[in-house]
């Protein structure tokens, strides 16, 4: 045999294998985080808000001002300040919020799980409904099914979130009483479940408190469904176009030549290759939801990170803004890294 396949080129001689890959992975994550920290640090220095003034007030004498400035370490060289900032972040010290008077890390530990819970349920709905819808639309391209799915997708782009939220509340909460109203849980159950993860659905299950679980579920299902609807519109549209691209490939003809039934052609031969692309789309949608949807969080009085960040911005609460920005940045890094890892599992060409 003359044509033996060429072996995969190793990244660098001596630096291959799963062990090195894991180390490399950790290094890239750490470096990306450092870059993120550098950005938030620089933003904190360039915004025209004087942190010293915020502490001493604008009536303090020059001596007091200088003393406070020195005490806050703002006279030290930039690199020292940056090192101190990184060190602080590593110990989850993000400073104190001016508006809530609590450590920012504590605030975030409270608001982020609220958003996480809603976004996760939302993306689950978006994927579970959106992907099959997109596949179906591609398989039935040009039929009425395709048209209906396209209209649903268009609605997802065209209908404003606050409107859908308000109409949803009027119909399903006020009229039909199918779901709970604004907030994460009914007032009389608030604070009944000890926070473990901060995710009410999980905490109430852990505590075995089914009343709280039902109430929390009733409150989260409507905003999550609306978020899910928006990601569904995007996911279904992308799935459809990815599928159409694959269905036009030669290997689809090969599969049919072998006598493959339509189900196998669609789900095995066309769908498998698009999983990698879908992960990117789903990852980005999820990250978008985790930033917190200000509209939805406002309409549903949801104490999430979108609300928190908006409030902090309006109060010029820089520690809170930077802390929240850091969390959003970290979310993107984590989701990117997870999709990278999944590529390698799902696409043999990326290994």
């Amino acid at each position: 045999m003359t044509d033996t396949p060429t072996p995969f080129p190793a990244k660098a001689p001596g630096f291959s294998g799963p062990w090195w890959q894991a180390v490399w992975f950790a290094i890239t994550v750490a470096l990306t985080f450092l870059g993120l920290l550098a950005i938030t640090f620089v933003i904190g220095r360039v915004v025209p808000i004087d942190p010293v003034l915020a502490v001493v007030g604008d009536r303090a004498s020059q001596a007091t001002y200088d003393a406070a400035r020195a005490a806050m370490g703002l006279d030290d060289p930039m690199i020292v300040q940056f090192a101190r900032y990184v060190w602080g972040v590593m110990q989850f010290d993000l400073g104190v919020s001016v508006s809530t008077n609590r450590p920012v890390a504590q605030d975030l530990a409270r608001v982020f799980p609220a958003t996480l819970e809603m976004a996760t349920l939302g993306i689950l709905i978006g994927v579970v409904v959106g992907v099959p819808m997109g596949v179906l639309a591609a398989a039935r391209q040009g039929t009425w099914i395709d048209q209906v799915i396209r209209v649903i997708g268009l609605a997802g782009y065209a209908v404003p979130a606050f409107w859908l939220g308000l109409v949803g509340l009027v119909v399903f909460y006020a009229k039909l009483r199918w779901v709970g109203g604004p907030g994460r849980i009914d007032i009389f159950l608030d604070g009944m479940v000890a926070p473990v993860t901060g995710l009410l659905l999980i905490d109430s299950l852990l505590a075995g408190d089914m009343d709280s679980f039902r109430s929390a579920f009733g409150h989260i299902i409507l905003p999550s469904t609306i978020l899910g609807f928006y990601s569904l519109a995007y996911i279904a549209r992308m799935t459809r176009s990815f599928m159409l691209e694959q269905l036009g490939q030669e290997f689809i003809v090969t599969a049919r030549v072998k006598g493959a039934p339509a189900r196998v052609v669609i789900w095995r031969h066309a769908f498998r290759p698009i999983r990698v692309q879908l992960i990117t789309v789903i990852g980005l949608s999820y990250a978008g939801l985790l930033e917190g949807s200000v509209m939805i969080e406002t309409v549903f009085s949801w104490p999430g990170i979108g609300n928190y960040l908006t409030g902090a911005l309006l109060n010029a609460d820089m520690n809170a803004v930077l802390g929240a920005t850091l969390v959003v940045g970290a979310v993107f890094i984590v989701i990117n890294k997870v999709s990278d890892a999944m590529y390698r599992v799902l696409d043999p060409r990326a290994r």
Partner: protein, 281 residues
């Protein structure tokens, strides 16, 4: 014995300027022999192959006065019935393994699929059969190749995998659509020889579709020359030099020879041929 009986086969596609006929009244029969269909790109030879497999995509239309395969009327045959034929009784080797093999499924599993669709063999028996057929296409280490993905093998090996996939159920008819045009010249002969060997040993009928007159003359018993969706010449492979149609003669004349003494190769005069056929050019 006649395997395939085709009379007046037409394939049409609607377009902005009305219907375009890509195959126009093709008639031929095929026994357990090797039939070559030659023609330039756009002559309708690939569409002929796909029409026989029932794989003309919508909105294309296939009509024929007669289209019988092993006594089964293929005209308007329902999809489930056609599916039972495809892969099992008739198969088609595609052009370029780079595009015609699924990039994310292991080679062995792709071959095993044909068995999955058409037999009740257990997973283990399927695997054994796949290893056998890989050996039959002269892959020395089938165990290893079974586990590979298409991007990990060369074009020549990819095409042998394709052939293995198409002969594993020993169909009565195999269509090979430009099976070597994507391959390096050095491995073409090898792939063709393997295919030829399998086809002859298993007594299959072969339709070899190509634009390469010499190749078809070398590996087939009989030749159809297609031009503009029609057959313009039909002859035994050995009688090609005695071709009478101006298109065939033109094709033959335009091929360089090793002992060339012409200063310039003649160019096909399409107007002359087209006039005789009254077709689009």
């Amino acid at each position: 014995m006649t395997l395939l009986h085709v009379e007046n086969l037409c394939v049409r596609f609607p377009s902005d300027q009305g219907e375009v006929e890509v195959v126009r009244g093709l008639t031929f029969t095929l026994g357990r022999e090797r039939l070559g269909i030659v023609g330039e790109s756009g002559s309708g030879k690939s569409m002929t192959g796909r029409a026989l497999m029932g794989l003309i995509p919508k909105p294309g239309r296939v009509t024929a006065d007669r289209m019988e395969f092993e006594g089964i009327d293929l005209r308007g045959l329902a999809e489930p019935a056609f599916r039972r034929l495809r892969g099992a009784r008739m198969s088609m080797a595609m052009q370029d393994p780079k595009f015609s093999l699924n990039p994310v499924i292991r080679i062995g599993d792709q071959i095993a699929e044909a068995l999955e669709f058409h037999s009740r063999l257990s997973a283990r028996d399927r695997r054994a059969r796949v290893l056998e057929v890989l050996q039959a296409v002269r892959i020395d280490d089938p165990e290893r190749v079974y586990q590979l993905y298409p991007h990990e093998v060369s074009g020549g090996m990819g095409q042998r995998v394709m052939i293995a996939m198409m002969v594993i159920l020993e169909p009565a008819l195999m269509i090979a659509d430009e099976p070597t045009s994507a391959l390096d010249v050095s491995v073409r002969a090898q792939v063709l020889e393997i295919m030829d060997d399998l086809v002859r040993r298993r007594g299959m009928g072969l339709i070899l579709i190509s634009h390469d007159l010499n190749m078809v003359a070398r590996w087939c018993d009989r030749i159809l020359v297609m031009f503009n969706g029609q057959v313009v010449e039909e002859c035994a492979a050995g009688q090609l030099h005695a071709a009478t149609h101006p298109y065939t003669q033109g094709l033959l004349a335009s091929m360089p020879r090793l002992d060339e003494d012409r200063a310039q190769l003649p160019v096909l005069d399409r107007a002359l041929i087209g006039a005789g056929l009254g077709g689009r050019t």
